[in-house]
């Protein structure tokens, strides 16, 4: 294990100008903190959530989904949702529209750990397929080949288990550890797919099957999704990156620090980051450069909150694209019940994937591609309370009890597909809501493109076909319909070469602000096929390399 846990981390004063302030410690922020601090820079990471230690992690779905959990209290973090910009937004109640963790390590603590690379086609799909009316569908400013070395860094430094399979993009190095042991759901997906004429491969996961980088392997506890890993086998940035960053003696993780504003000076440069500590006392941390890695909702909110006379529509927003082009990834879901027990509550979420439908096929008549995995539900409580009744089944009485009793026999085929970027889908400020720190709430505007739903139906049809071939006794389709909740928050500060249609350049530097960088899910130009974290982290490793070069050349 890293020695960081046994030594005090460095503390900077708010009168010290550090090299970088990073806002957010999640999938991207954790990588940036580790890379920039190991490259010799002084770094302060501001994280709104608490710094929890593995001994504080419990197997408790009540706390996770209905208590404070990792996501914080909804009342403290109000959100609202509407379908189109001309509607009034409805405040979220009981369950948030956007589900993300507010804790050191961010949503990498609670993700399901599916780690898919994008493929070369994802970066150039607009050129291949042409424009799509009503969307801002565009090529990325970078290619798969430029990102490939950084995907490999993710494999080895974050810690990914897996095995190459059919249709995989080229890779320069193998996986560091083999796939997790296959579960019954994986066997059924694999064999059903084979009988139906499709291929499958082991699911690549950010979960260690064997010791790696001094970290312990998985004990198959079964509560990965939504829960932090007390073993450190799940490759959160808390387990993989932050200990390395702290061990440099140059990186301070400042938790319970809620950023209210990024300040700029008369020459348009970022000077300091204003935040509230756990007691609500305001501080400001000066920095030579600021990196926003707060996620695809929090990052645009912060840019809007940082408006000034020089940046009247929000910082870095001369394009008007801050907050726009929000993409969720469409997820069709299909339940299947088998005669014998699967015991899907054991071990990791998914062990097998089918990627045969990755590419857009113009013969289908709509845009879209993706893959599917075989998985457990989230956990016994989530399943009993929120997944049941199965679609079309009675919600109470003996029939509900029979469904609950079939828990061990039930599995989910989870589809993961594209979302097209649309300007009207956005994150904006909701001035009718005020969070616990006095900031306006987050307003979500989202309507799936018809092609996203059409592909969702296509993928569900294939899921049904595969489950039938696997011998399922019963199959239930969760109706394909509008997305109203999401965990993937993509595209809201997209990268591009043209300052009129993008927020950051190909190096994640804001077009409008030379010493402001933005790197998280908001950077993505297209949605990929449904598992964005690996790409977010590859982008972060790459961005850190370029920031390091710029800083060393005095170009920040």
């Amino acid at each position: 294990m890293s020695a960081a846990s046994s030594q005090d981390m460095v503390r900077y004063g708010t009168s010290d100008e550090v090299d970088f302030v990073i806002v957010g410690s999640g999938a991207a922020g954790g990588v940036l903190a580790k890379e920039l601090s190991t490259n010799g820079f002084s770094v302060v990471v501001l994280e709104q959530g608490p710094y929890l230690r593995p001994f504080q992690f419990r197997h408790d779905e009540v706390e996770t989904y209905f208590g404070d959990g990792l996501t914080g209290r909804l009342a403290d973090h109000p959100q609202s949702f509407r379908t189109t910009p001309d509607e009034g937004a409805t405040p979220s109640f009981f369950f948030p529209a956007l589900f993300y963790a507010k804790v050191v390590g961010g949503s990498s603590l609670h993700f399901a750990a599916n780690y898919w690379r994008l493929r070369p086609v994802d970066f150039q799909e607009r050129s291949i397929l042409g424009s799509i009316p009503g969307t801002t569908f565009a090529d990325w400013p970078i290619t798969y080949d430029e990102l490939e070395p950084y995907y490999t860094k993710v494999d080895w430094e974050i810690g990914i288990s897996g095995e190459p399979g059919p249709g995989d993009p080229p890779r320069s190095r193998g996986y560091p550890v083999p796939p997790m042991p296959i579960k019954s759901s994986g066997v059924l997906l694999r064999d059903g797919a084979a009988r139906a004429g499709y291929t499958s491969k082991p699911a690549p996961l950010a979960i260690l099957s064997r010791p790696h980088n001094g970290r312990a392997p998985c004990i198959h506890c079964g509560l990965c999704w939504g829960q932090p890993c007390e073993i450190g086998a799940k490759s959160s940035t808390l387990a993989s990156m932050i200990p390395v960053a702290e061990a440099t003696g140059r990186c301070e993780i400042r938790d319970r620090s809620t950023v209210t504003r990024v300040e700029t000076n008369a020459s348009g440069r970022v000077t300091r980051v204003v935040y509230l500590d756990a007691d609500g006392v305001e501080h400001a941390q000066p920095a030579k450069a600021v990196v926003l890695a707060a996620n695809g909702a929090e990052t645009p909110r912060l840019l809007f909150l940082s408006e000034s006379s020089r940046h009247p529509d929000g910082l870095a927003n001369s394009s008007g694209y801050v907050g726009k082009n929000l993409m969720f990834n469409y997820n069709p879901a299909t339940w299947a019940r088998f005669s014998e027990p699967l015991n899907e509550y054991k071990s990791v979420v998914a062990t097998r994937v089918v990627m045969d439908f990755y590419e857009t096929d113009p013969r289908r008549g709509f845009y879209g591609g993706g893959g599917m995995d075989a998985r457990a539900t989230i956990g016994p409580l989530f399943w009993a309370a929120l997944d049941n009744p199965m679609p079309g089944m009675p919600a109470w009485g003996p029939e509900l009890k029979e469904q609950l009793a079939a828990f061990r026999h039930t599995m989910l085929v989870s589809g993961h597909g594209t979302s097209l970027p649309r300007e009207q889908n956005s994150i904006s400020l909701d001035d009718d809501l005020v969070d616990a720190w006095g900031r306006p709430g987050i307003r979500v505007t989202y309507e799936d493109h018809p092609d996203d739903l059409a592909f969702g139906t296509f993928l569900q049809d294939r899921s049904v076909e595969i489950m039938e071939a696997a011998g399922a006794e019963r199959i239930w389709r969760v109706p394909v319909g509008p997305s109203t909740v999401a965990a993937h928050l993509l595209g809201t500060c997209r990268m591009g070469d043209d300052p009129d249609t993008s927020v950051v350049d190909r190096y994640h530097r804001a077009h409008d602000v030379p010493n402001l960088f933005i790197c998280d899910g908001s950077s993505m130009v297209t949605s990929g096929r449904g598992q964005p974290t690996m790409t977010i982290q590859a982008l972060a490793f790459r961005a850190a390399d370029h920031m390091t070069e710029f800083a060393r050349r005095g170009e920040i």
Binding site: H59, E61, V62, F66, G67, A75, F93, F94, E163, P164, P170, R171, S172, R173, G174, P176, V177, P178, P179, P181, I182, K183, S184, S185, V187, L188, P202, S209, R210, P211, H212, P217, I219, H220, C221, L223, F338, E340, P341, L342, N343, E344, K346, S347, T351, P380, L381, W383, A384, A385, A395, W396, G397, P398, L400, K401, L404, A405, F407, R408
Partner: protein
């Protein structure tokens, strides 16, 4: 293991009798809340007695008792009672209003009956009432039903899932540490998907070859 009696007698000897006397109302309340008393339908902290009885009767129709325990035996009502007074207090107005409306509906639907509360109705009439509120008061139905199910399957320290009866219904073992094979369909899996026993640190060598 230290019993509560041991703890109290030790505390008494250390702190003196007066200190213990001051605690006696608190201890009496704790005893009233002990699981045996709660099984008898006493001592709600948030619900009134009538609300508690109605919710418990509702829970017993959502996940009924047959040859295996249901939501009543799991103590879902005690989970709801605790949660609505604390972590899920936002839901209290919905549940409280819904329970009152449910009793109002009982009186309107069955004016000839002796019962004026849902809990006093025979099961068949309770089912008629639930069938109506499922469509006519869906917000209350959803949240009350969700509370029943969290109380059935949530961790027992929140007051429900007594003796693990909810987990037993699902067939869930709460050991949180398992070994392959996990289920029937992976029982014969061997080889590349299976991590070998005793595999050590092999990070220096890629496990699987690069393809370029």
């Amino acid at each position: 293991m230290t019993t509560r009696r041991d703890f109290l007698s030790t505390s008494g000897s250390l702190m003196g009798g007066a200190w213990l006397m001051r605690l006696s109302p608190f201890i009496a309340a704790l005893q009233a809340c002990s699981s045996e008393a709660m099984r008898d339908g006493l001592a709600f902290v948030t619900f009134t007695e009538r609300e508690g009885a109605d919710f418990d009767a509702f829970a017993a129709r959502i996940v009924p008792t047959d040859d295996t325990p249901g939501a009543r035996e799991a103590g879902s009502v005690y989970f709801a009672d605790q949660a609505l007074g604390s972590v899920l207090a936002d839901l209290l107005p919905i549940v409280r209003g819904g329970l009152a409306a449910m009793d109002e509906r009982v009186r309107e639907t069955f004016p000839d009956a002796d019962a004026d509360a849902f809990a006093d109705l025979p099961e068949a009439r309770q089912d008629e009432i639930i069938t109506a509120i499922e469509t006519e008061d869906p917000g209350f139905f959803f949240f009350a039903r969700t509370l029943v199910l969290i109380g059935l399957v949530g961790n027992p320290e929140y007051g429900g899932n007594r003796d693990g009866v909810g987990w037993a219904l699902l067939g869930f073992e709460d050991t949180y540490r398992y070994e392959p094979p996990f289920g029937y369909y992976d029982r014969n899996e061997r080889g590349e998907d299976r991590v070998a026993e005793g595999a050590g640190e092999r990070a220096a060598e890629p496990h699987h070859g690069a393809d370029r």
